[in-house]
Symmetry: C2
Subunit: 225 residues, 2 copies
Amino acid sequence: MTNPAPDNTRDRLLMQAELLFAQKGFAAVSVREITAAADSNLAAINYHFGNKMNLYLSVFKERWVPRAYGVRKFFKGTLSEKSNPDTSDMVRAFATAFLEGAMTEDERRCHINLMLRELTHPTEAVNIVVSEVIRPMHHDIRELIRPSLPETVNLEQLTLSIFSIISMILYFEFARPVVSLVMNQEFDLQFKSRVIDHIVSFTMDGINGINGIKDIRGLTKEETV
Amino acid sequence: MTNPAPDNTRDRLLMQAELLFAQKGFAAVSVREITAAADSNLAAINYHFGNKMNLYLSVFKERWVPRAYGVRKFFKGTLSEKSNPDTSDMVRAFATAFLEGAMTEDERRCHINLMLRELTHPTEAVNIVVSEVIRPMHHDIRELIRPSLPETVNLEQLTLSIFSIISMILYFEFARPVVSLVMNQEFDLQFKSRVIDHIVSFTMDGINGINGIKDIRGLTKEETV
DNA sequence: GTCTATAGCAGGATAGAC
DNA sequence: GTCTATCCTGCTATAGAC
């Protein structure tokens, strides 16, 4: 959206603050660092936002939430191109919106880092994140998938599945360095596309979706309920 | 392991530092806070560890890694009780070791928070985490599951699946508050046990494992509940 | 709206007595 | 090994000139 430096101080502060908070976290970033990066004066944050915490909240309100709406729009846009999308189309559209479309690489890293920080160490901003984005996102997907399931479907299980899809998407983005280290595999475009394939396949068929192969022993299953 | 306050200062410092770092992150915790919590003197950290960063690293070396070994041992212990465990037994044992066994609630929260911080914002400690724990963990599971798959199995897909299992386990632990908020469901023991069931079922059959319901697109799977 | 200057405090680290 | 006292740096926030 606003990749080149915006012409007004307030927006430059928001942009640089978002980048730095995402990279290092709230406590590890100083207002000196932000104002220097935004090429503005030390006092600018207090003038425009009152204090550092309020700047942090404004980042969520004015940058994070709008971008999340962009992801949602991209997701719905992709889906509407398909006539009669099935569940796997939805999962793919969802994963793609997060991992490939809708954002530049830097925006994505930034976006997911901020979200994750709020999930793991909530501040006031977590209320914005949950009510403006996570809850609607769950609602969207649930209502899209539900029609293709029997009416007797267990809603709790469906919601847990949606969380699981989200967990994979987030993990493969934020834990990139570790994934690369363990797999000895650069995170290039080809690999990312295979990761999305994996997420779709794992969501549809679990571990047995591997290569379309069925688990040999998976045929006999004793479920302890 | 050492729930009551250890009698020597060094261990008390390590214990309290771990708790605080896990709760708030490295930058947000002051040495004053740690020494006060450990009921020791302000100068104690510098005397015993040289500086704050080295204390952080020592927490990983002396507390986090040993506990991770404990989880691994618990996992292998559970498995060895089963004769001829299948893939779902392994996944269940793995999820259980992380989410129910091996640790007290506080230790678990602490353990996973520290790990997640290193995944999202790596410091020097990430090398310890990956080489001492994540890589061996992947090796364990991969070699346990592989025999039940055809020799032609795609190793990359298998590794991605293991990451997916880990991603769910981590997510349902660290994003507890959000899960509770969205589902309007307290995270009690019963719910946690349902979450483990979900992880196993999702890993085995994906989203169609819900309620043992057959895949609506026709790829039917034998299921005995 | 932007800048300089500075208040006022909390941070990590250390020296040296015991 | 532990404690007190203290240094110095860096922090947020503000007051007031322009």
